[in-house]
């Protein structure tokens, strides 16, 4: 798949809450076809402490506006500087990178995301709708003040919500949500993205329920397109590159 490196123009920088923001980035060139689960590598040119690029899932693609969006959680210097970008400034991306979620031909779909892990699910929801599949979402946040974009997700499917402190939706971790305690589990396919511990737990639940489960792994990456061999994860085939053979893996194949 052909890859590109060029500047995008910041169209919007939308603060969701103190820790999260969405960057809508407009391409000066027509966007190539992009699939849900793929990511970009961002050059944070205004942050002296940030030498390597930073990987971010593609949160949404709007071909009409020729934009793609990133949903970013502030963690360190790189994301802090990205959060200060203003409309009109530029951001250099390498994209589109990685494999993508498989698109089921039939069956019921649950998209599961926690924290900034929800990022690729919006795009996946949109994509599935275009393939005439209406997924359900199960989204976990720390608390009500971090809950955002529920109306957006609702466009693409039903939304279940949980917060760690119970301030909105069901109380507790995602994996304690009542969708998992239904007598007959309705989902044939689960797609999950979030912190490692959460993905582990979700994958375990999926296996128990007999549902297929794909997870999108986080990882420390240097290149992001397969040449440095820094980003490996152990699978049934040995060490595989998360940036090329992943970031999306069938959870059953992982030795994590």
């Amino acid at each position: 798949m052909k890859k590109f490196v060029h500047d995008f123009i910041v169209a919007f920088n939308n603060r969701l809450n103190s820790r999260h923001f969405i960057l809508e980035l407009q391409s000066p060139l027509p966007l190539p076809e992009i699939f849900p689960g793929q990511f970009v590598q961002v050059l944070v040119h205004n942050s002296p402490a940030t030498f390597l690029r930073r990987p971010f899932s593609i949160h949404f693609v709007d071909y009409a506006k020729n934009t793609l969006s990133l949903l970013v959680q502030v963690r360190g210097e790189g994301t802090r500087h990205m959060g200060m970008l203003k409309p009109g400034e530029t951001l250099n991306l390498v994209y589109p990178l990685g494999n993508f979620f498989s698109i089921p031909s039939s069956g019921k779909v649950l998209l599961v995301g926690g924290g900034a892990g929800v990022a690729p699910l919006m795009f996946m929801g949109d994509y599935l709708n275009r393939k005439n599949i209406r997924p359900d979402f199960l989204i976990g946040f720390r608390s009500a003040d971090e809950v955002s974009q529920i109306d957006e997700y609702s466009k693409y499917g039903r939304v279940f919500l949980s917060t760690d402190d119970g301030s909105m939706g069901e109380k507790g971790f995602l994996t304690q949500h009542s969708v998992f305690s239904q007598s007959s589990f309705p989902y044939d396919h689960m797609y999950c993205c979030g912190p490692d511990a959460m993905m582990h737990a979700v994958a375990k639940l999926a296996a128990a329920k007999g549902s297929a489960c794909e997870v999108s792994l986080e990882n420390f990456m240097a290149c992001g397109y397969g040449v440095c061999l820094c980003c490996i994860t152990q699978t049934d085939k040995g060490n595989e590159r998360v940036c090329v053979e992943g970031p999306v893996f069938d959870a059953a194949r992982l030795r994590w």
Partner: protein, 304 residues
């Protein structure tokens, strides 16, 4: 348009810009960014005698103007290389050189002998400087006697151009350079990574699984330049220079210090287009300074 051709040890490079081993895979991935035939050459990832899984994850840490890696020579071994990789790369319209590693002298010799038979590989780069393996690797490159020994053993079986890549983790780089020259090296590559370490103060743990790893990127450029210059003055064989080259200015600095050819390593991760941009930049520099050929700046540093 200046003449960018460089000939070292009988190998013709269409320009002095090549890509560093371990930072360019086998070139396949870069085809998605640009036409590989633009490049002077490609040094592919280290090949060892048999399959190696490499080190545990995490394998990298970001550091100021650089990074640490501890990939540890992950590769599928020489058999797989000959049967599966060579067919993919043998017709690249650029020089393809294979980086050869091992844990024992006989492993180096075995791999070199096999590659000697691959028609379209004009040279090997003997990696006696990998800091990320428990046995062999850097150990061969830090003692003059063993450096001579492994070079000579490979020289006996390898009939094409023998390049030897040195470790900067030594007291005297010129001593090692002379040692491999005595062992029969045709070309010296400088430098591999500096041995470094990163710690996560919050978890109080090393950032990478192997604790120490190899430091690369602009942070090491001053050390690399110094070593290229020292070796250029000390031995009479050509030098391939690298270590933190990010742009054409950096590349020119290495050539002025004495490198005939340069390699682009970590810079590929920051900008996949780095190598072609450097070629353009060198050309622009030569034109601007009215220098007819890239050859004219090799070792041309004015020290008075």
């Amino acid at each position: 348009m200046a003449d960018l051709n460089i000939n070292i040890a009988g190998i013709q490079f269409k320009n002095p810009v090549t890509t560093a081993s371990g930072c360019f895979g086998y070139g396949e991935e870069f085809k998605e960014f640009y036409d590989l035939s633009l490049l002077g050459g490609i040094f592919v990832k280290a090949v060892t005698g048999s399959n190696r899984d490499g080190n545990k994850y995490p394998r990298m840490a970001e550091t100021p103007s650089g990074m640490l890696n501890s990939v540890g020579l992950q590769n599928k071994g020489i058999d797989h290389f000959c049967s599966h990789i060579y067919p993919l790369i043998k017709d690249f319209n650029t020089r393809v050189i294979v980086n050869v590693s091992g844990s024992t002298i006989s492993e180096y010799v075995e791999v070199a002998a096999r590659i000697n038979e691959l028609e379209n590989i004009p040279a090997i780069e003997l990696n006696i400087s990998c800091p990320n393996v428990k046995h062999g690797g850097m150990a061969f490159g830090t003692v003059p006697e063993t450096a001579t020994e492994v070079t000579r053993a490979v020289r006996d079986v390898y009939k094409k151009v023998l390049m030897v890549k040195l470790s900067p983790n030594v007291t005297s780089i010129t001593e090692i350079a002379k040692a491999v020259t005595n062992g029969g090296a045709d070309v010296i590559t400088l430098i591999n990574t500096l041995l470094g370490m990163a710690i996560d103060a919050e978890t109080q743990r090393p950032v990478i699984a192997t604790v120490t790893g190899g430091l690369s990127g602009p942070a090491i450029k001053p050390v690399a330049l110094r070593m290229v210059w020292q070796v250029y003055k000390a031995v009479n064989i050509p030098i391939v220079g690298l270590g933190g080259i990010m742009n054409a200015t950096d590349a020119i600095e290495f050539m002025l210090a004495g490198a005939s050819v340069i390699q682009v390593g970590t810079a590929n991760f920051i900008d996949p287009m780095a190598a072609p941009k450097i070629i353009e930049g060198i050309n622009e520099y030569l034109d601007r300074h009215n220098i007819a050929s890239a050859r004219d700046i090799i070792g041309a540093l004015k020290v008075s």
